[in-house]
């Protein structure tokens, strides 16, 4: 398929992109399962009386920076923390499809349409990986979806803002996927094996999306005046929602301490936010866009950029569902889920019919065999 040249503007590699990709690959090597400890190993039934010993063994695995696997004993609070985080993450992927899907039908070229559609598809795929990781902890995904539709589950706050122009798809991919990678790359080294391995796959694809977002914005900032204005407007609106993705400041975060101790999480919200800002500034310069913070400047002493923190009161309101598109996102999810109920019921009914038919066939065959070799059949049934 040649002939793309007319609409294809080769953008340079975003500065700093390489380092993140290398970090994912390093984590992938570390996330491999420990030899001799396959995920599907038969469960070693823990004797109920040696809880202390189990705890000690768990602590030793964490201290040695090794992986906890599904069959391993783990403290209830560790399991609960993981589930909370996995649920929020999976939900963010699923609800997060909406702001981008909003532009698939209107993408300005067929190539951009294909890229955007593939990105939304990847997000559905990420939701599936994460549900699979959560299912290793014994929770069914329908529980997550029910909670989500009932508004009991949270997801990343930026999703509750609307995508108003085409440039928003680029800004979302560059900024929010960029922030997601900074957040998630350390999770590739999470102490829970299935989570770490799911995150390696997710991060690889996210880094691809981030690159594509940069590319889409680059085309705009090197286009017409109207396109440049569209790009700047999108950056102006998405910068703070992206910064807010790292959550409340560490001083207010109720979960940070335990998550860090268990090595589910490895850096504080503030450390990650700073890292993101430091990565974005040179990329914004390369793109030729202005980040909407008059106090953003290099601090020689700290070796980091100083920046204005996001409005955390707004973050709290938006997480609770009061963002401009919050109600719409949940309502859309719920509508789609309800509209699909008859399909899921039919699937289940059809599968049951097939099982019944197969059982009937087996019974029939079994009966035939029974006539011939009755004794054997009875024995095997016993």
């Amino acid at each position: 398929m040649a002939q793309l040249a007319d609409n294809d503007i080769p953008a340079p590699e975003p500065p700093g992109h390489d380092a993140l990709v290398q970090e994912i690959e390093a984590a992938q090597r570390g996330a491999a399962q420990r030899p001799g400890r396959p995920e599907a190993a038969p469960p070693a039934p823990p004797a109920p009386h040696d809880e202390e010993e189990l705890q000690a063994r768990f602590d030793a695995v964490i201290a040695a920076d090794q992986k906890i696997e599904p069959r391993d004993w783990m403290p209830d609070a560790y399991r609960a923390t993981l589930l909370r985080q996995l649920a929020q993450h999976a939900n963010s992927e699923i609800v997060g499809m909406q702001p981008e899907a909003n532009w698939i039908s209107r993408a300005p070229t067929l190539k951009r349409k294909a890229i955007l559609l593939a990105k939304v598809q990847d997000e559905a795929g990420h939701g599936l990986y994460l549900y699979a990781a959560a299912e290793t902890l014994g929770v069914d995904r329908s529980q997550f979806l029910d909670d989500l539709d009932a508004g009991r589950q949270k997801y990343l706050s930026f999703i509750n803002y609307p995508t108003l122009t085409w440039a928003d798809t680029g800004a979302l991919a560059w900024l929010t996927d960029g922030a997601a990678i900074v957040n998630q790359v350390p999770l590739c080294r999470s102490s829970y094996g299935p989570y770490a391995r799911a995150m390696v796959r997710v991060c690889k694809e996210e880094s691809f999306h981030h690159r594509q977002g940069f590319d889409a914005l680059w085309a705009l900032t090197h286009g017409t005046d109207a396109q440049r204005a569209m790009a700047q407007d999108a950056i102006d609106r998405w910068w703070y929602p992206a910064l807010a993705m790292f959550g409340p400041p560490t001083r207010d975060s109720v979960h940070t301490e335990a998550s860090m101790r268990w090595r589910i999480k490895r850096f504080t919200n503030d450390e990650l936010r700073q890292r993101f800002v430091d990565i974005c500034v040179p990329q914004a310069e390369a793109l030729g866009v202005r980040l909407p913070d008059p106090d953003l400047r290099w601090n020689e002493e700290r070796g980091h950029y100083d920046f204005t923190e996001p409005d955390y009161d707004e973050l709290r309101r938006v997480i609770k569902g009061d963002g401009p598109a919050g109600r719409q996102r949940v309502a859309h999810r719920r509508r789609a889920h309800q509209a699909g109920a008859w399909v899921r019921e039919a699937s289940a009914a059809h599968a049951a019919k097939r099982r019944a038919r197969a059982a009937a066939d087996t019974a029939e065959t079994g009966a035939d065999i029974g006539v011939d070799i009755g004794v054997d059949t009875e024995e095997s049934a016993a």
């Binding site: 499809m97 598809q121 017409t224 399909v343 899921r344």
Partner: protein
Amino acid sequence: MTTAVHTAPDYLLRLGDDALVAAQRLCWWATRAPQLEEDVALANIALDLLGQARALLGHAGRVEGRGRDEDTLAFLRDDRAFTNVQLVELADTDFADAVTRLLFFGVYQDLLYRRLTASTDPVLAAIAVKSAKETAYHVDHAAAWTVRLGDGTEESHRRMRRATRDLWPYTHELFVSDEVFARAATDGTGVDPAGLRAPWRERITTVLTEATLPVPEDGWAPGGGRHGLHTEAFGPLVLEMQGLHRAHPGARW
């Protein structure tokens, strides 16, 4: 030695427009599928169709030699210049319609691409080889859903019965021959779709029968899409698809 054979651009446009408009409609399902696996599957099929459209429209533009590329053809033609069949442009908001259309259109495309792998136009033959692999999967997927829903619950059976009955009239247009198809068939670049009707009917009958669904009666046979006569649903689709591109004349993206 053979000289390079080129398919007529108007033949290629028909195939490309079918794939493009089918993809555009299928994209609506992203975030709306009945389960997450289906979001992935439908997006996958839409991506295949979009890829086919890009290859076919790109080839049409090059053969035509008037400097039109895939985007010029997709975004700067008016509604009346599109030559897709009406079947692919109808709006669907019921999963039963989406499945039924995917089955009807998928089997047609599958039969067509398999024959086009022998096209005397090597570019079209190569597109057909790749596309036939994709449509084989589309048909499997649609057939599996048709059986599941046809032979599922009372409600799903009723919905599939309605969808197959509603979409059946629009399938006739897939097999209507005219001088463009006849020429392409004669020079070996293309296929006359009239010859696909019997095998199409056979495959569809097999699936519907397994799904405990009746094969709808023939009767009303709307058409005109091949000559730019579309349904009222088509205008808004084109407007939505082209609006942004047209609002920035000459811009690159």
